[in-house]
Each structure stands twice: as structure tokens, then as C-alpha cells.
């Protein structure tokens, strides 16, 4: 019965627990490593590995353009991709608040499957816990992931060099505004969908074109402004950007005007910022534009030796101003 709700007993290790996993996870996420149901997934890997973990607590768990399941896969796939690695295996851990309906759970697991398939990764191990009502908010998910870094790749936030170009893969603020538009007490209608997407194929396209990609990061919480500030501080360089060149959807800009936010600080879940050698910027950009997650990509600025550790933006009016890190909470629990 789809209207069944999850009970504490579903997490107790009892027959109900097994049923939950056998009926709702295994058939959907099926792969040989997972199907063994041993205490750990066992596999061979060789080379330099990337390993990452992230917990997802977004509220509401379903939002325009995605849900917590899609987010949990894409977020970890993207974190792996930003080190230049090829993501391979993910773990999937769910903390369920009793009372979540089975149909909601199935919807989330289906999204996990779809996102994993698109990214070409397997969920190879997992866990499910159920907690008392009030001890969690519907559903929390943790995913960890492992990827292999191909030879010749050296990507780090500390690698930006003076003269490098800064490429942004598309419009900013879509995810934050899409989630915000659904929040209780704040419902407004904007034609904005979350940009939540796996970026590993975009990254591999870029790396096939050039290895002169020095920094890569996905500007999630804290938005573009925070990511650029991190680069400026880690690499001890200045960053100059131009307001006019930063793509943002009309709906996002309108919602930001209404709510008093700056799109530069609003979260993204399917965008990346790359700092690349000036000689290769053009061909990397051209390649990105041919990928469906990079069609709106643009060069938005460059790395300078002035104002070290700071990000300065040329405004539309031609004046300049500091772009600082986000302070405090902007949108609570957006990922």
C-alpha cells in the first residue's frame, strides 16, 4: 500500500526493516555490488582516489526541479567532479522521521536511481534509520562517494594564477530561489526550477579539451560570491568580475529584488566555476557551451595581482565594489 507510513519499527532491524529495503530499495537501485547485501561493498580500485561525504537536509524535500534524492546524488557526484575525479561509487544513508509516507520514500528513491544513472555511478552500500517524530524533519540523507582522478590532473582552490580567466557554467541562484519559493509561510510563484544536476560529464568534457584548469568548484551554499572569495583567499590573488557578464534568470532576479537578496549569494546545485589558463579559456568555454549543463556558460572575469584575497566587481554603472563572503544564514536548509 502506497499510503502506508513509515513507522519506528521499520528501522528496528526487524522483518519490517528487511521488507522496507527489499521492496523499496533493492529493486530500484539494483546493481551486483549492492545486491550482495554484505556489511560492506567490496571492490577493486587503483590510482589516485577522491573521497567525499555530504549530508542533505533540504526543506521541503520536494521542490521544483528536483527532490532530496536527486540532490543527494548530484551533490556528492559534483563534489567528486570538482577535484577532477571520475565518480564511481556512492553510499546512501537515510534518516527517516516516522510518519513519512511510503509513496514519498519511493519517489525519493526513484530520483536517486535516475540521478545515479545519468551520472553513471552506482549506489553500492546503504543504511536506513527511523527516528521519532520531531527528531528529524521528514527525511535526511547522507551520501559518500569515491572517484578516480585520471593522470595529469591537479585541481585545487589554491592554484589560481594571475591572468587566469574565470568561467561560470550558467545562470546563478536557480536552486536557492526554487527551494525558497516552496517554503512554508513564504510561498510565491516563480517560474524557476532548481538547477540540481550531475556535472561530472561537463567536467570530463572540459578536461578532455584542456588540462590547464587550475580551480574548479560548485558554488552551492553561499553562492558564487562565496566560492570566488574562497579562491581569492586560498590562492592569495585578487579576483575581478563584471556584473554585466554574470548570467541570471529573470525569475531569479525578480525574486531576489522582492526578497532583498543578492543573486551572487544564492545557492546553486548544478553550476561550476572554473579558473583556467587564459590561453585555453576560449576553447574550454566553447566545449562547455555544447554540454546541456553549460549552454549559458560565460567568462565573467579574471585573476589579478591587485587587491589580493578580495573579490571586486565592476557594477553595471561602471563603478566598482567589494563582493564579500556571505555572512550568517540567507536561506536556511536549502540543501
Amino acid at each position: 500500500m502506497d499510503d502506508e507510513t513509515i513507522l519506528l519499527a521499520h528501522g528496528s532491524g526487524s522483518r519490517l526493516s528487511h521488507e522496507l529495503i527489499e521492496k523499496n530499495f533493492l529493486p530500484i537501485l539494483t546493481n551486483p555490488l549492492l545486491a550482495k547485501l554484505d556489511d560492506s561493498a567490496v571492490f577493486d580500485l587503483s590510482g589516485r582516489l577522491a573521497f567525499t561525504t555530504d549530508s542533505y537536509v533540504v526543506s521541503p524535500i520536494f521542490f521544483p526541479g528536483g527532490d532530496i534524492g536527486k540532490l543527494a546524488v548530484c551533490g556528492t557526484v559534483n563534489d567528486l567532479s570538482m577535484s577532477g575525479s571520475v565518480p564511481l561509487y556512492l553510499s546512501l544513508s537515510l534518516i527517516i522521521e516516522e510518519g513519512l509516507t511510503l509513496s514519498e520514500l519511493k519517489k525519493v528513491v526513484s530520483s536517486v536511481k535516475a540521478a545515479a544513472e545519468e551520472a553513471g555511478v552506482n549506489i553500492v552500500t546503504g543504511d536506513t534509520k527511523v527516528v521519532n517524530r520531531g527528531s528529524a524533519d521528514k527525511l535526511f540523507i547522507n551520501t559518500s562517494g569515491i572517484g578516480i582522478i585520471p593522470e595529469g590532473i591537479d585541481i585545487s582552490g589554491a592554484n589560481a594564477k594571475v591572468g587566469d580567466k574565470i568561467i561560470l557554467s550558467g545562470t546563478i541562484g536557480d536552486h536557492g530561489i526554487a527551494v525558497m519559493s516552496q517554503r512554508e509561510g513564504l510561498k510565491f510563484s516563480v517560474p524557476v526550477q532548481s538547477d540540481c544536476a550531475p556535472l561530472n560529464k561537463l567536467v570530463s568534457d572540459m578536461l578532455k579539451t584542456s588540462l590547464k584548469i587550475n580551480c574548479l568548484r560548485d558554488p552551492t551554499r553561499g553562492g558564487l560570491a562565496t566560492t570566488l572569495n574562497e579562491f581569492a583567499r586560498q590562492s592569495q590573488v585578487g579576483i575581478s568580475i563584471e556584473e554585466e557578464k554574470i548570467p541570471a534568470r529573470e525569475g531569479v532576479r525578480a525574486a531576489c529584488e522582492l526578497l532583498g537578496f543578492d543573486p551572487l549569494y544564492v545557492a546553486n546545485e548544478g553550476k561550476l566555476v572554473a579558473i583556467v589558463a587564459p590561453s585555453d579559456a576560449g576553447k574550454i568555454l566553447a566545449k562547455m557551451k555544447r554540454n546541456k549543463y553549460g549552454t549559458d556558460a560565460a567568462i565573467i572575469g579574471e585573476v589579478t595581482d591587485a587587491h589580493k584575497g578580495k573579490v571586486i566587481m565592476k557594477t553595471r554603472l561602471g563603478a566598482s565594489r567589494i563582493v564579500d563572503m556571505l555572512s550568517g544564514e540567507l536561506l536556511p536548509r536549502i540543501c
Binding site: 554603472l317 563603478a319 567589494i322
Partner: protein, 361 residues
């Protein structure tokens, strides 16, 4: 984007700037009253474009910033009462009171919820009939009508658990108080946009008449403000100060009659406590006797510790336009958006926050 990009047009801005440069011959001191204007000016870098003859000071038009410590202490004390849900605009959360902030109170298990309008607060009251829902009613004439409307709506629907802590303040009286203080020697005022949508431009007439200070009601986009500066400079250069409206798409001289009537039905004019300025007669609103059962100050009894002011904080001087954030010893060093000492660093419309966030100095 419609109604936004037109007002950020670079070419038009250049034209207005060059006209201001042409007509400005003497030192001119302007104050943008409104925090929304300060943010727009800092965010677009507009000050850098103006000729050196035109000086712009930031005024007290940030509702969060002018809220006195005593009033923040009241809101926090109310939040700690049993079976109370406090609803507030988000900016109020981090403002330090004498001893704590709403944010700290929430962490200490007070039920405090951020809302975007009084309608959200009313809905929370409907959804939680066994609890008392108190809306922290800060703001100027812009928000007062919606607070009045929420009280009338609660009365019509028989919502018995909705209350307002009324901290509404009025702009023209505080402008008069600032001018009477005589600290600033202003030549012109960029008058608030959204406040004037409600009250119109007539209430500013006393300013050019009695003080010889030029007034232009401005919108919030960079071009709106540039145009207002041009109109102010032209008035000042001609020696004939008056009240003009640059924000014609939003403001009529007589204001919004419906909103004014709503305010008058529910509120009466009263003195108000302004941070940095003190208690100013007839500069605030209180709930009329007829509606006193919605007045949180009447409905709940709270005990308050003596009010304390943060040491070294010059928010008061900044709000009066006497000093800028750059004059403050705490600015950027001790006082940051993460660890604000005074309210001007907290509010998104606060001068210190705007200087911190967007300044290039």
C-alpha cells in the same frame, strides 16, 4: 528585466551624471533618508560617479536600526513567555538588545518564526489556536497599514490569539527632529520612496518652508536616485527649495488614501523611542484603545532588566548622519555581520552593513 533594467541603464546614468556635473557649482550636502537608498547607492557604486561638490550622508531610515534596545528587550522577553510564538521580519533576528538577541532566544528554545508579512503571522495564529502569536510590528509608514489591516482582519475573523508589539515609527517627525538638532547643515533630502507611496509628498512641505532644505521623493533604482540628486542640485543651485517627486510611478502627492485611513482607524500618534536620538514626541504609533486587546504590551506582563547600550558603538551618531561607519573604531574590527555590536551592522538596510558589504575603501 522589466521595470528593473530600464532603471539601471548605463547610458542614461552617464547622461544624468554629466548633467549633475554641469549644474553643480557649490558644495552641496544631501542626506538619503532611507536605508534602502543607502544600499542601492553602495551596491551600484553610485557615490563614485558623483562630482566632488555633492556629498551624500546616510540617514536614519532603517526601521531595524532605529529600534531602541529597550524595545528589542521587550520582544525577547515576550518570546520567552510560555505558549507564545513570536513572529518577526528576518532582519530583527540578529539585532543585539541589552543582553541577548531574538536569534539567541530562539536557540534557547523560544518559539520565534521569521515571516515576510503580517498575513503569514495571521496564518500561524490560525494554525496554532492554543498559543499566543505576537507579531513584532517594526517599520515606518510603509508597514504600518499592513499591520493595521492584520488587526482588523483578526477582529473580523475572531482570531483571539493574535497580538502586535507596536513599534511603528513616522518619518516626517524624525526628519524635523534631525533638522532641529542642527548638527548637519543639510541642503537637501532624498526623501523615502515606499514611505511616500503611503503618505504622499505633502507631509514634507514644512521642510523647504521652515528649514530651506530641498526635498525630492526618490525610487530605489540607481537611475531613480541619480535623477533625484539632479533635481535636488538644480533646486539648491536655483536657491528655491521645494518638494518634488522623482518617483512618479509610485508616489502621488496625496499618498494612498485607503492605507492612511486604515492606519488612522487602528493607530494613534504617540511618542517613540529612537536609537541614537531618544524619545521624540509624536514620532510613533500606538494601538488605539478600541483595539487594545491586540496590543501585546497590554495583554502580557513582562519584567525587564535595565537597558544597556553597547560600549563604543556609534550607531546613534551614524543614524543621525553625524558620523559614517568609517568613523567607528569597532567597524570591521570588532563589529562585523557575523558578530554585530550595533543594529546598523545587522539590518540589510543598515549603513554599516552596506558599507561593510559593498564598500571599496
Amino acid at each position: 528585466m522589466k521595470f528593473i533594467d530600464e532603471f539601471r541603464d548605463v547610458e542614461l546614468a552617464k547622461k544624468v551624471v554629466s548633467r549633475i556635473k554641469q549644474i553643480s557649482t557649490r558644495p552641496t550636502r544631501l542626506m538619503e533618508f532611507c536605508g534602502g537608498h543607502t544600499v542601492s547607492i553602495m551596491r551600484s557604486g553610485l557615490r563614485q560617479l558623483l562630482p566632488p561638490t555633492v556629498e551624500m550622508l546616510s540617514g536614519p531610515g532603517c526601521p531595524v536600526c532605529v529600534t531602541a534596545n529597550a524595545d528589542i528587550d521587550k520582544a525577547i522577553a515576550l518570546a520567552h513567555l510560555p505558549d507564545v510564538i513570536v513572529t518577526t521580519f528576518g532582519d530583527m533576528m540578529k539585532v543585539p538588545g541589552s543582553y541577548s538577541s531574538l536569534q539567541q532566544a530562539r536557540a534557547a528554545e523560544a518559539d520565534i518564526r521569521i515571516v515576510y508579512s503580517t498575513q503569514d503571522a495571521l496564518q500561524i495564529a490560525r494554525d496554532n489556536p492554543t498559543q499566543s502569536v505576537i507579531f513584532i510590528g517594526i517599520g515606518f509608514e510603509t508597514t504600518a497599514p499592513t499591520i493595521a489591516a492584520s488587526i482588523l482582519q483578526a477582529e473580523n475573523e475572531g482570531i483571539k490569539n493574535y497580538y502586535v508589539l507596536c513599534l511603528s515609527k513616522l518619518c516626517p517627525p524624525i526628519m524635523k527632529a534631525l533638522l532641529d538638532l542642527g548638527e548637519l547643515k543639510l541642503d537637501g533630502i532624498v526623501c523615502p520612496g515606499h514611505v511616500s507611496v503611503i503618505i504622499g509628498s505633502h507631509p514634507y512641505e514644512f521642510i523647504p518652508r521652515d528649514y530651506g532644505v530641498a526635498c525630492v521623493v526618490s525610487g530605489f533604482e540607481p537611475l531613480d536616485i541619480l535623477l533625484s540628486v539632479e533635481m535636488l542640485v538644480a533646486q539648491i543651485e536655483s536657491g528655491k527649495p521645494k518638494v518634488e517627486i522623482a518617483y512618479r510611478r509610485g508616489v502621488k502627492p496625496e499618498g494612498n488614501k485607503t492605507a492612511l485611513e486604515l492606519m488612522d482607524r487602528v493607530f494613534q500618534v504617540d511618542s517613540a523611542d529612537w536609537r541614537g536620538i531618544g524619545v521624540v514626541p509624536a514620532s510613533g504609533l500606538k494601538i488605539r484603545k478600541k483595539f487594545e486587546r491586540f496590543d501585546a504590551e497590554q495583554a502580557f506582563s513582562i519584567t525587564l532588566e535595565p537597558v544597556r547600550e553597547a560600549k563604543g558603538c556609534i550607531c546613534g551618531d551614524i543614524l543621525r548622519g553625524v558620523k559614517t561607519p568609517l568613523d567607528c573604531k569597532l567597524f570591521r574590527k570588532v563589529c562585523t555581520p557575523e558578530h554585530p555590536v550595533g543594529p546598523c551592522m545587522v539590518s540589510s538596510e543598515g549603513s554599516c552593513a552596506a558599507y561593510y558589504q559593498y564598500g571599496t575603501e
